[in-house]
C-alpha cells in the first residue's frame, strides 16, 4: 500500500474520497481545500444518514453538526461542535481555521460566528429525522443516555431529576459493570460519530 498523493476515508464514502482526490490532483492542490471539498460531498449527500443535515436527531428532534480540520504541517486546527441551523459544518470549520486564532467554537455561538462569516441559517431537521425522533418518543425514549435519574430512564421519557447521592452508592458492582456496556445504543454503520 502507499503512493502519494493519497486520500483515505472512513466507511465506503467513495464520492467524497474521489472529490477530495480530484481536488488534490486537478484542482487547487491545497490539501485543506481537498479535505473540505471531500467532507462537503458527504454533508450534501447525507452519507449513511451520519453526516450533514437531517440525521441523528437529539432528544429534541434537532440535528447538530460537528466538524474539524487539522493541518499536520502547522498543527493549526479549526473545528465546530454542536453547530445549530447551519448546513456546511466543514466550511465553517475552515473559517475557524482561517479567520480566528481559536481552535474550537461550539453551539449557538458557533452559529452566530457562521452567520457573521456569511453562512445561511436554516433548520437542519427533515421529514426523515423528524420521523426517526417520533419513533423514538413513541418507544418510551429508548435507548437514551441517562443514568441515576428519576423517573427511571429505562422505562420512560424525561424530564428527569437526579437521584440522591446515597441512592447512587447503592449501585451493585454488577450494575457498575453494566455501565461499560454500550451495546444498547446500536452503534454501527448508520449510528456513530
Amino acid at each position: 500500500s502507499g503512493g502519494l498523493p493519497l486520500v483515505a476515508t472512513t466507511w465506503g464514502f467513495t464520492n467524497a474520497t474521489l472529490r477530495a482526490y480530484q481536488s488534490l490532483t486537478v484542482g487547487a492542490f491545497d490539501p485543506i481545500e481537498a479535505l473540505v471539498e471531500g467532507c462537503s460531498v458527504c454533508e450534501r449527500e447525507q452519507c449513511d444518514g451520519t453526516v450533514g443535515f437531517g440525521g441523528s436527531p437529539d432528544e429534541n428532534g434537532e440535528t447538530t453538526l460537528d466538524a474539524m480540520l487539522m493541518d499536520g504541517k502547522t498543527m493549526d486546527i479549526g473545528a465546530v461542535a454542536a453547530l445549530r441551523d447551519v448546513k456546511h459544518a466543514a466550511e465553517v470549520a475552515k473559517h475557524v481555521l482561517r479567520n480566528t486564532k481559536h481552535t474550537l467554537l461550539v453551539g449557538s455561538q458557533a452559529t452566530e460566528f457562521a452567520v457573521m462569516m456569511g453562512f445561511k441559517k436554516e433548520s437542519l431537521q427533515t421529514e426523515a429525522s423528524k420521523s426517526m425522533w417520533s419513533a423514538w418518543q413513541n418507544n418510551h425514549c429508548q435507548p437514551n443516555f441517562w443514568k441515576n435519574v428519576i423517573p427511571s430512564p429505562s422505562m420512560s421519557c424525561g424530564p428527569y431529576e437526579p437521584v440522591s447521592a446515597n441512592a447512587i452508592h447503592r449501585t451493585t458492582p454488577s450494575s457498575a459493570e453494566n455501565l461499560s456496556d454500550r451495546s444498547a445504543y446500536d452503534f454501527g454503520q448508520y449510528n456513530h460519530d
Binding site: S1, G2, G3, L4, P5, L6, V7, A8, T9, W11, G12, T14, T17, A20, Q22, L24, P31, I32, A34, L35, G38, C39, S40, C42, C47, G49, T50, V51, F53, S56, P57, D58, E59, T64, L65, D66, A67, L69, M70, D71, G72, K73, I77, A79, A81, A90, A93, L104, M132, N144, F145, W146, S180, R182, Y185, F187, G188, N191, H192, D193
Partner: protein
C-alpha cells in the same frame, strides 16, 4: 461520520471530520469528531489517523493521537491502529469503533472493534486515475 486524511505530493498531511453525531443524544452533547486527537490527528512528520464510532467512549482515549504516536515509535499503521483500539476495548469491551491510520509516505492500515468488519475508502498514486477502492478490515 466522514473522517478523512489527505496527503499531497509534498507530504503536506491534513486530517478532518464531519458528522451529525449519535442518535437520540442529550441536547448539547458533542462526540469525538471535533476533538483534536480523538476524531482526527495529523502530524506531517509522522502521518495521520482518523476515527469513527461511539464518540462518548472514544474521546476518552484520544485514539487518533495514540495511533500517530505509536507510528512515531515505529509501529506500522495497522499495528498503531490496533493498539489504539485495543486500549479502548480494554475498558469498554462492547464499544463500536474504527480507525484509519496513514504514514506521511502513504502507507495505510485500519483497525476496528465491535463490528464484523470495517470498510474504508482509499484513492492514491498507486492506481491510475486515483480510482477509489473500498477496503475492509476484520474486527
Amino acid at each position: 461520520t466522514i473522517s478523512m486524511i489527505v496527503i499531497n505530493e509534498d507530504k503536506h498531511v491534513v486530517a478532518g471530520t464531519s458528522t451529525n453525531g449519535a442518535r437520540h443524544k442529550i441536547p448539547g452533547r458533542v462526540g469525538d469528531s471535533p476533538i483534536p486527537g480523538a476524531g482526527a490527528y495529523a502530524d506531517a512528520e509522522v502521518g495521520a489517523a482518523v476515527a469513527t464510532g461511539d464518540g462518548d467512549v472514544m474521546m476518552r482515549f484520544l485514539p487518533s493521537l495514540l495511533a500517530v504516536e505509536a507510528m512515531r515509535s515505529g509501529l506500522s499503521p495497522a499495528e498503531a491502529g490496533q493498539q489504539a483500539i485495543g486500549r479502548i476495548a480494554k475498558y469498554y469491551p462492547s464499544f463500536v469503533g474504527g480507525i484509519v491510520v496513514v504514514t506521511k509516505d502513504g502507507q495505510y492500515g485500519a483497525a476496528c472493534h465491535g463490528m464484523e468488519e470495517f470498510p474504508y475508502s482509499v484513492a492514491d498514486g498507486t492506481v491510475a486515475d486515483g480510482d477509489v477502492r473500498v477496503l475492509t478490515v476484520k474486527c
